[in-house]
Assembly symmetry: C2
Homo-oligomer: 354 residues x 2
């Protein structure tokens, strides 16, 4: 299995970032080397790197790039320059929570030393923290993969939606981590990937990741999932999550809720894979979450060509909420929450991490 590295740091604190340009997938596999914070800013802005954990890692590494060129004779202090670079990076995708979180974490780690330690030592410390974020993300992906792998039975058909794979994380993904681990353990199975309209993350990214790792995958349109289930070819539905409420209601890419209803109607187990950081315990239930509407042109001009009449109304919710009652289990890096109840969630999230 060839390794796909979404993003990595090359060299010491005077090194650079190498990332795969996801806007060119799946027709071209291009790794870009970013030597400046401006290049990272652009990569995040233009979605060359996407997926919450991957954006966090990219922003952290971008901050290191921004500080490695710091010189004391440039008229600003290390602290001033750090604030400047951090603000600049925060402007790349202002709604990406992991981006803010990662930048804050790096700033905090040097905050109390910034007026005493030499610049090179501070930057080395920033890099160590960025690499720690990356390492934690990789460990989290591996732990989810390990926790869920036993759910994939020999000869099973697994249906997935959108991209909860390595391209969205530093390494291995969440839902796809389960499949990668099952494949590593020698399990043979088959994957159906929903293309996932409107932005086709399933068609463009998930099929590509599975193909790269030699896993048997078939692309379908979203409206074919029910037929594949009816034919008895799906034994497991496995998706990622954007946010999970305290009761287990799960926000994920639009189309997930419909799949959960179809899975229940066909008696097929429906699992969510997500790190414990995805849980938002301040939300009692999914109904409390407003649903974001996206640009109608994603639907009417999806393929570079206009495919609907001028002026047509469009409903384009970015995600939906799957009620906990339709979810068989949630696979986290701390184990599987099953059945999905408030108590089980609290017990799993409260316990010690592996």
């Amino acid at each position: 299995m060839p390794e796909v590295r979404t993003i990595e740091w090359i060299g010491d604190e005077s090194g650079y970032v190498r990332l795969i340009d996801q806007t060119l997938l799946p027709t071209a596999v291009v790794y870009r080397d970013c030597h400046t914070v401006e290049e990272i800013w652009e990569a995040i802005r233009l979605l060359r790197v996407r997926g919450a954990p991957a954006i966090g890692v990219a922003a952290a590494m971008g901050l290191v790039l921004g500080m490695k060129s710091f010189r004391e004779d440039q008229g600003a202090s290390y602290r001033q320059r750090l604030v400047q670079v951090a603000d600049y990076l925060r402007s790349s995708r202002p709604t990406a929570v992991n981006l803010f979180w990662a930048i804050d974490r790096l700033v905090r780690v040097v905050a109390h030393r910034v007026d005493q330690d030499p610049p090179r030592q501070l930057t080395r410390r920033l890099l160590a923290e960025a690499l720690a974020i990356e390492a934690e993300d990789r460990a989290m992906c591996r732990a989810i993969g390990q926790a869920g792998a036993a759910l994939v039975g020999e000869g099973d058909g697994v249906l997935t939606h959108c991209n909860a794979g390595g391209l969205a994380t530093a390494d291995y993904g969440t839902a796809l981590a389960v499949l990668f681990r099952a494949a590593e353990l020698g399990r043979r199975f088959h994957v159906f990937a929903d293309e996932t309209r409107p932005l086709l993350q399933g068609a463009r990214l998930t099929t590509w990741e599975l193909q790269q790792r030699g896993i048997d995958v078939t692309l379908i349109c979203d409206n074919m999932a029910a037929q594949v289930m009816k034919e008895g070819r799906v034994q497991l539905v496995l998706v990622g999550a954007d946010r999970i409420a305290a009761n287990g209601d799960t926000v994920n890419k639009i189309g997930t809720y419909g799949l959960a209803v179809l899975a229940q109607a066909h008696g097929i187990p429906f699992y969510v894979a997500a790190p414990s950081s995805t849980f938002d315990l301040s939300l009692a239930r999914g109904a409390d979450i407003p649903i974001e509407q996206r640009d109608p042109r994603e639907v009417t001009h999806g393929f570079g060509r206009q495919t609907a009449p001028d002026g047509i109304k469009v409903y384009n919710p970015a995600f939906d909420v799957t009620p906990a009652s339709l979810i068989t289990g949630i696979i986290t890096e701390r184990g599987i929450i099953r059945p999905v109840t408030v108590e089980h969630i609290q017990r799993t999230l409260g316990g010690p991490a592996d």
Copy 2:
């Protein structure tokens, strides 16, 4: 409401055919005048005209065009020329049942007179038969619309899939006929049109037809239907049919079966609208019907751009089978079959037409 004419004959038996070029919809509305059988052949082949009933009408009118230029001094008899033109038209879309049916019907109507009546009179008779097929289709559409209109309640949300509209028939459509009639009766309601991957008939054609008639319509991706239902915005699901078995199992565009499961889960009535000619009583049940697989490029190269990796496997069934148990009723030109049982179907199809 402006009238959209899918296809019509202009003038007497030396006239011509005017049809809307559906390949250019919805971004351009172009009517093409066809003066020769070759132009009709091309229009059918290139899907400028599509939908089983519309193809039947086009083929019938094409035969008239092929015979109107008949001259006795060209070395072939009227009969020979008729066989030639009929064979030529049959080659335009060799799997279109209505095409064969319409051509045979025209040939039959002149068969016993072909050696005695003057050519112009024979051609006039062919035209009369072609116009009869068109008129019957129009009457069928109107009767379906009339039979189903009461199902659309004031303020309702109606969800539809693919295109069972006027563009597929000579006039008014089947599923959409119900909506057109309800609108004519002054009912106000709202339609959600599934875009219908892979070929986007919903996005390209259904939204356009409804927009033309001033009916409030919103385009959604197929995977958003469940969310719209969950929000309580759908009171009726209404689709067409390609073929219906003796027990009511219904073959229709891929995605229909999933919608029926979702409708049941949300307690929403699910209706099929189709002329009685759609029933194939030689089929006991839907499971007896093999499911046609279509070109993977419809999925991977949807609109002139590649959106999936090279060499990826694709499952692309053209249609699915919705079991009668999920169908609340079938709206035909002879009335509504409800509940959908073998006995009700036989009683309705056996009875006299309106």
